[in-house]
Point group: C2
Chain length 305, copies 2
């Protein structure tokens, strides 16, 4: 197994871009043909539609992008059948040699965090048996509980050579309510909370750095806050950024440029709706529209280098 950051760097180099295709299946946006075939009688039927849609998107994007990011909330919305679909979508992505970031924003303390983390990465150990669950290459994690609650995610990720992306500066309009609170720090000028979290992420990341120079603990930093993104890139030279908020949420190619190191590594830029839903439900040949939208996203980001 290879260090997560090195696998990510290799995938970005191989595909020639750092686009992450976000899989946020929403019933009302699915192609009509898929909705009709599965129906909406039960959540099992809906989960089947989500799975078919995501797997067909994966086939389209696999030759083009290095990473995909399934959003666990939309699968959880279908209950146990949705989690079944999530598992099959993650496996399909692996078979297509895509890296996977499971977007669960998980957080808890001690052995509870370990339960989430083992499920995400190496698998759940029962007695002497190891049972794989999600087998993701990375998981998003919320830092509010502090280091000892993030630690089990790091330990479990490191066993599987996986990565953890810690929320630092989220992409939503109200992100600043707590993240921008100015923290008094003795003689120095006060710093916003998100910078304190960023410094913790930097120290966690430095514990396990790959050959590419990046650690296995990344930071989620929204494209919707370009000034903060620029500042954080300077503060955290060894930290990979997962950048949501591009496209539908308003972040532009210019906004995300500062997330990258000069060699084009150091960030993955996620687009969900922009890549997966560039069509109306009743449009035919939706897969070619997904392909065109993926290529357009790649080109928009490349044009800025």
């Amino acid at each position: 197994m290879t260090h997560f950051a090195d696998r990510l760097a290799a995938a970005i180099r191989a595909k020639g871009n750092a686009v992450c295709a976000g899989l946020d299946p929403r019933w009302e946006s699915l192609p009509q043909e898929i909705r009709v075939r599965h129906g909406d009688d039960t959540l099992t039927a809906v989960a089947g539609a989500f799975e078919e849609f995501c797997c067909r998107v994966l086939e389209v994007v696999a030759p083009l992008v290095p990473v995909v990011k399934p959003q666990s909330a939309f699968f959880e919305a279908c209950g146990p059948a949705g989690m079944d679909a999530l598992q099959r979508v993650l496996r399909k992505a692996h078979h297509l040699q895509l890296l996977t970031i499971l977007d669960g924003k998980r957080n808890d303390i001690a052995s509870t965090a370990t339960a989430y983390a083992d499920a995400a990465f190496a698998g759940t150990t029962i007695g002497s048996r190891l049972h794989p669950v999600w087998e993701a290459d990375a998981l998003t994690v919320n830092p509010y509980l502090g280091r000892d609650a993030v630690e089990p995610f790091l330990q479990s990720a490191r066993k599987a050579q996986a990565g953890v992306f810690v929320l630092v500066r989220t992409s939503n309009p109200g992100a600043g309510q707590f993240q921008d609170l100015l923290v008094a720090s003795g003689k120095d000028a006060p710093q916003p909370l998100y910078q304190h979290v960023a410094q913790a992420v930097a120290s966690w990341s430095r514990e396990n750095v790959g050959q590419c120079g990046f650690g296995d603990v990344g930071a989620v930093v929204g494209a919707t806050y370009p000034a903060e993104l620029t500042q954080l890139r300077q503060m955290l030279p060894e930290v990979v950024f997962l950048v949501p908020g591009f496209g539908a949420q308003g972040g532009t190619a210019t906004d995300v440029l500062p997330a990258f190191r000069r060699d084009g590594l150091g960030a993955v830029v996620n687009s969900s709706r922009g890549i997966t839903f560039p069509f109306k439900p009743d449009e035919r040949d939706w897969e070619s529209k997904v392909e065109a939208a993926t290529k357009a996203t790649i080109a928009a980001l490349a044009g800025n280098r």
Copy 2:
């Protein structure tokens, strides 16, 4: 339907205590008879063991306590089959007229948060159909993303007359790393971050107050921080506290006393291992030990009033 806080108050009055039985199924702690019957060959088998154990615990505690709190991480550790078990455990709790707090510590932005919240409470709407998922009475939520990310949880909870417990001061040893950071606030003395979160929770809670005087947005405050608990009770008179960390984590009956209003309302004190695992796996008649441990927990808390 009745306001969440009023349903909680009625349940606490009916049972004569404010104990929450935490359901954290762990394979290594399960009764040997259950482990042998189900086996550990597959996660479906393990999930079946978790379900049987939790459902039998529910039968024991239902006449005694008002609330139970399944920890979603331990069910997610069994993958889709675990989520199936979680759903049946939640349904069983409802049939036994127990209130349920789903401990998922969920968080995300906008419509993604809505997907988690609808699954937790009113159900997932697909087209014109409403599909129930977890049907919990309350969900734990992480506040790091700010008001606009908490809002979808409040909206969905209010449609179902359910409750939201926001993490304010968690029970883990390292909780203070970020939660205790001192936030500069103009002319006033700096306040720790958790108090800023607490004030936000108070304002959200005041938006929808029940007849008992408490709102539908509660706060998670660990029993392991009695000074903070005392202070927060004074700051947040209308907020119900969910108090983890009692028992196995070190919180005592004296520590949790300040969480309550004088009439005995205003808090639920969770005990997981202390109630559900007071036996060794090979001990017989483990259910009578769960019953005795539940009664002992209730008595310990009552003795302090």
